[in-house]
Symmetry: C2
Amino acid sequence: MGLEMAPVEAERSPEQPELQIYPLCRYYFGARDARPCAGETAADRALRLKANFAARGLRTRGGPTYTQPVSQDTGIALGHRDNFVLGPPLLRTCVHGVLLVELSGHPHVLLLQVRNSSFLLPGGRLRPAEQDVQGLKRKLSSKLAAADPNGDHHWQIGECIGMWWRSEFEARPVPYPPPSTRAPKECVKLFLVRLPMARQFVVPRNLKLLAVPLSQIHDNAQVYGPIISGIPNLLSKFSFNVVRN
Amino acid sequence: MGLEMAPVEAERSPEQPELQIYPLCRYYFGARDARPCAGETAADRALRLKANFAARGLRTRGGPTYTQPVSQDTGIALGHRDNFVLGPPLLRTCVHGVLLVELSGHPHVLLLQVRNSSFLLPGGRLRPAEQDVQGLKRKLSSKLAAADPNGDHHWQIGECIGMWWRSEFEARPVPYPPPSTRAPKECVKLFLVRLPMARQFVVPRNLKLLAVPLSQIHDNAQVYGPIISGIPNLLSKFSFNVVRN
């Protein structure tokens, strides 16, 4: 239109939460040595999880880990009624962080890329009896901070913005407990991570850290997978406030 | 597996919000006379909105409505710098309600269907200077309750769970302010509507009210459109609590 106009924004309802984001140039990005066993394929992953599941059983919080017998005929785990009734929820749980920065006036999500192909959110699997927030802090430190086992990297973990379930380890995740099964194998939780005005990211050399615009991620499950491509939708209730000074 | 097991559910984090839903059989569904001018096509809609935009200008909250001059050559509205700087946000705003019921142990969303084809969320356009919550209550009453202009139908409007924008009236909506334009034409806000344990829905005869499972809506933009098909993702952070008694 050739005319310079003040930006026209949606009105912020009183209850609409605000999210402060800072320009990408506020952050420093460095590299460190790669961690062993990083960068497995999807097929490797499914095999490893099935082997763990059969050998070590499922995780329980604050209780013992039960070994689940596997049917000789079908390879399907046979539920022991007592185990399920006794224990707290039995489920592989992963926690991931959604970290946002601003570039060209548009919010970008920080994603890790493995071998120039698949994209990951920083995060990973909880240890037995580990709390969501504690586990996510540990995973963010291992993927995004200098290697310092005693370092407190001051991650500010915000609310859980979404959850996805897998009925089987190879299954496509869905954003609700799968109605076809009463025992989903995996749950993936996404947490908002509020970044400070400035910080240092130190990433293992076998991974690349990229800032990807919401507009590129949205509706692009083919490249980013269903969980990441749904993030712009999960963030849409927030009013982004870009802080430049 | 042949064994009866206690359901295995994801652990609810302390901060994970709970959402009570009630079985579909708790609700009564009736019909009433159709409203005039309901059920236009997408092309009709775009034409109507463009005509309104050119003739009556954009909505401002609590202020005057400016008429925006339209270029004779292109038909594109010419922004008046002073209008934009002067006024509060200028944008067509629609509000929609997400109403949930339980059926077969799985959450279902209440959708309106027009002429056996397109699906809609109950809701509609805000009037000039109308607040989101007030406008949504008015729209829910007009689409889902007995025709009673003075009736207070006790809608309990919860939080805004998502927002979508259109850069042009025919454009595909996106869940972030479109980076390509500083003046999006439309904003669509989705609010959670908490249903009581029982209530009556009275729907105009030209619309059908359907309860559609999350698993059918998810990732099915071809049938339900991008906004509705993203609802399961928006709801995934909630822990559903089905209340039967």
